[in-house]
């Protein structure tokens, strides 16, 4: 709405999109109140015990468990790196915040994947669903992350729940997209082979398409977790707690030291989660077989 609006544009109708959105959110807050309360209770029930567990046990135990996982998935070098990195975080004053960020990320991305993967399957199998989902996913992905926080506050107030839910919405799209992509990329001839022997659609999906799409789906899982981690920090703005709080506080007080410590903790957490989920996909025989096949080609 510029002051120098040309008279030529004066015939354009005013579109009060903002006002409409506000009234929609107002209505939803009232009418769907009980529903939101239920959602909040579920999220709370998931995040709190995990948070308590991760912050309750000694840091050494968490570091060793994650390093052990790294050893199993990627080998001793990565295990050593994990131990050193997380040891550094444990040595800084924000271990508890890091763990509560981890808890939020795990809950948000698990919930996001539980919705994203079935949705990706639906979208891959059904052209009409794909046509509907595409613009919605575009919107979800390009909407500035902060904007999700506003309705989240309306519906769920301040705290962990709106943070986790905003994170969930923000991180879901790559899960849907990469599941769809993975399924669509499965060799048509192999799918036809399965069909030509009389396999029903569910069997083609479960025993042929999904195993073959798995490497791409696992990339989606990885992306969802990475996005969740980036969003959960932003969610610090609504008092979600964790490293987000640390960084927001440092920002408002211009404290370089604690800001950097919080940032480094996020980075280390990100690298560990990224590498772990990246190699988790390779544990599946179908992924390994396909990697071998690609190398041979």
């Amino acid at each position: 709405m510029s002051l120098t609006q040309s008279p030529l544009d004066s015939w354009l109708p005013r579109v009060p999109l903002g006002a409409w959105t506000e009234s929609a959110v107002d209505w939803a807050t009232g009418a769907l109140g009980p529903f939101f309360d239920g959602v909040a209770a579920v999220v709370e029930a998931l995040v709190r015990p995990l948070n308590d567990l991760l912050t309750g046990v000694p840091a050494v135990v968490v570091v060793l468990v994650l390093a052990g996982l790294g050893w199993w998935l990627r080998g001793w070098k990565f295990a050593l790196g994990t131990a050193v990195g997380l040891g550094l975080v444990a040595g800084m004053p924000y271990w508890e915040e890091t763990m509560s960020t981890l808890a939020q990320v795990l809950v948000a991305s698990t919930l996001a994947l539980l919705m994203a993967i079935p949705l990706g399957v639906l979208v891959a199998e059904n052209k009409r669903a794909s046509a509907v989902a595409r613009p919605v996913l575009d919107l979800m992905q390009t909407m500035p992350a902060f904007v999700y926080l506003i309705p989240a506050i309306f519906f769920f107030g301040i705290g962990t729940v709106p943070g986790v839910l905003a994170t969930l919405v923000f991180s879901m799209p790559p899960g849907v997209r990469l599941t769809e992509l993975g399924l669509r990329q499965v060799d048509k001839e192999i799918v036809q082979a399965a069909e030509s022997f009389g396999a029903p659609p569910w069997m083609v999906l479960l025993r042929t398409k999904l195993p073959l799409a798995l490497p791409t789906i696992m990339t989606g899982v990885n992306q969802v977790i990475m996005l969740a981690l980036s969003m959960v920090v932003i969610a610090g703005m609504v008092g979600a707690g964790g490293l987000g709080d640390v960084i927001m506080f440092a920002l408002s007080q211009v404290e370089v030291g604690s800001g950097f410590e919080g940032g480094i903790a996020v980075v280390i957490l990100a690298v560990v989660l990224d590498r772990l989920t990246d190699s988790a996909g390779d544990r599946f025989p179908s992924a390994r077989a396909q990697r071998l096949a690609r190398q041979a080609a």
Binding site: Q192, A193, F197, G198, P200, P211
Partner: protein, 413 residues
């Protein structure tokens, strides 16, 4: 009864299919008929029957519609118009569940790029159809092993497809289709992705298996030599239409139009033509009990220098030359017996390919004798006939008057 009957089958991609079918029905070329329509015709008015136990080859270049055609034979693609009957069952109106049942029980398929599941072992791949059919694991294993035995891959059962070479992978694809135990096999460019040498090897293997199993095979290929080698009958496709159906020899010697003629122009016809199709009627055949005088008269009349001699039951014994007839006359013998020689003549069977005739022709002093399965003399091949048969069968010239045709691979369609 035919194993598979296809009648007026059309496949139109795009919209306004009805209009497209109507315009194509009177036989105009598809580019002309469909001008201005938002539709492409992949298969136009296909009609053929496949007999039980035969290898029916559909041959055409890419874009001729052969892959679309084969996919309509098991319902992977729904025809736009027309009928496909498998073992008497109309396939085009089947419900999905019934169609799947038909695929499990009647028709299996081998794919161009093998289409093996990379995450399953060779054995699991071979037993896929049985898994779909819900057989217990032990029986699945046993039957999949049997199929792998047929293609000679039992020791690879527990490997992943990735460990195998291309030729071996396609043998797994073949084993998978064989394990299904269906009467009909659809093979979509099954050997096209393989090296020439491997391809020949696996073609031989298919023919051996076929001799044993007697499946009904519909084989798609763009390779004419492969079509001629494998096919009991061949359908040639062009621009969506089947332009000719016949045995390899019929297509080679009597192409239906210029397109087919050009197509077959560079085929190695020495491998397709057989002794039976180039041989001539022997001019002088005498029974071994005939006297030398009869022989001498025969030689004089025919202006030749050799007589072919047959014994009891018309079995071929050998030749007698002018010199020997004269010798018999001089020595006053009543019969040709004792003068008959097999040294100067080579014998071949009727189905010997022309390629294998050259050596015999070169070494045989007299025209090569062609014998049937009971050693009876049915024809001779002089060198000049062999050469002219090869030269004559070029597509630009009429072939029929120069080469006498005898079908050996099957009756005409």
């Amino acid at each position: 009864m035919s194993a598979l009957i296809v009648q007026s089958l059309y496949k139109i991609f795009g919209s306004r299919a009805d209009e497209a079918v109507r315009r194509l029905a009177d036989g105009k070329p598809r580019a002309e008929a469909l001008a201005g329509l938002p539709a492409t015709a992949a298969v136009i008015d296909a009609n053929f029957e496949v007999r039980p136990g035969e290898i029916f080859v559909v041959m055409g270049l890419s874009g001729s519609g052969k892959s679309t055609l084969i996919r309509m034979l098991n319902g992977l693609l729904q025809p736009t118009r027309g009928s496909v009957r498998v073992d008497g069952v109309e396939l085009t109106t089947l419900k999905p569940a019934a169609l799947r049942k038909l695929r499990r029980e009647k028709v299996s398929m081998v794919f161009q790029h093998f289409a093996l599941m990379p995450h399953r072992t060779v054995l699991e791949n071979a037993g896929y159809a049985l898994e779909v059919a819900g057989l217990p694991k032990a029986e699945r294993r046993e039957r999949a092993m049997d199929a792998l035995r047929m293609v000679g891959l039992t020791e690879w059962a527990d490997n992943l497809p990735h460990d195998l070479s291309g030729g071996m992978r396609q043998r797994v694809g073949l084993a998978r289709a064989l394990a299904a135990g269906t009467e009909i096999l659809l093979m979509d460019e099954a050997f096209s992705a393989l090296d020439p040498l491997i391809r020949r090897e696996i073609q031989d293997q298919l023919l051996e298996l076929q001799a044993e199993l007697g499946k009904t095979i519909i084989f798609i290929t763009h390779d004419l030599n492969e079509a001629m080698r494998l096919g009991d009958r061949i359908a040639v496709m062009r621009d969506g239409r089947i332009v000719q159906i016949g045995t390899a020899e019929e297509i080679l010697t009597d192409p239906a139009n210029d397109y087919v003629a050009q197509f077959v122009a560079d085929v190695d016809r020495t491998r397709i033509l057989t002794a039976a199709s180039v041989m001539e009627k022997p001019q002088q055949v005498l029974d071994v009990n005939a006297g030398p005088r009869v022989a001498a008269k025969a030689l004089r009349e025919s202006q030749t220098s050799v007589v072919y001699v047959t014994g009891p039951m018309k079995r071929f014994l050998g030749t007698v030359t002018e010199d020997e007839v004269l010798r018999a006359l001089r020595e006053g013998r009543p019969h040709l017996d004792g003068y008959v020689s097999t040294e100067r003549v080579r014998t071949v069977t009727a189905d010997t390919s022309v390629a294998d005739l050259f050596a015999d022709c070169a070494e045989s002093q007299h025209p090569v004798a062609v014998l049937d399965e009971r050693d009876r003399l049915i024809g001779v091949i002089p060198r000049i006939t062999l050469l002219s048969a090869l030269a004559a069968a070029t597509p630009d010239e009429p072939t029929q008057d120069q080469v006498e045709l005898v079908g050996t691979k099957g009756e005409p369609a």
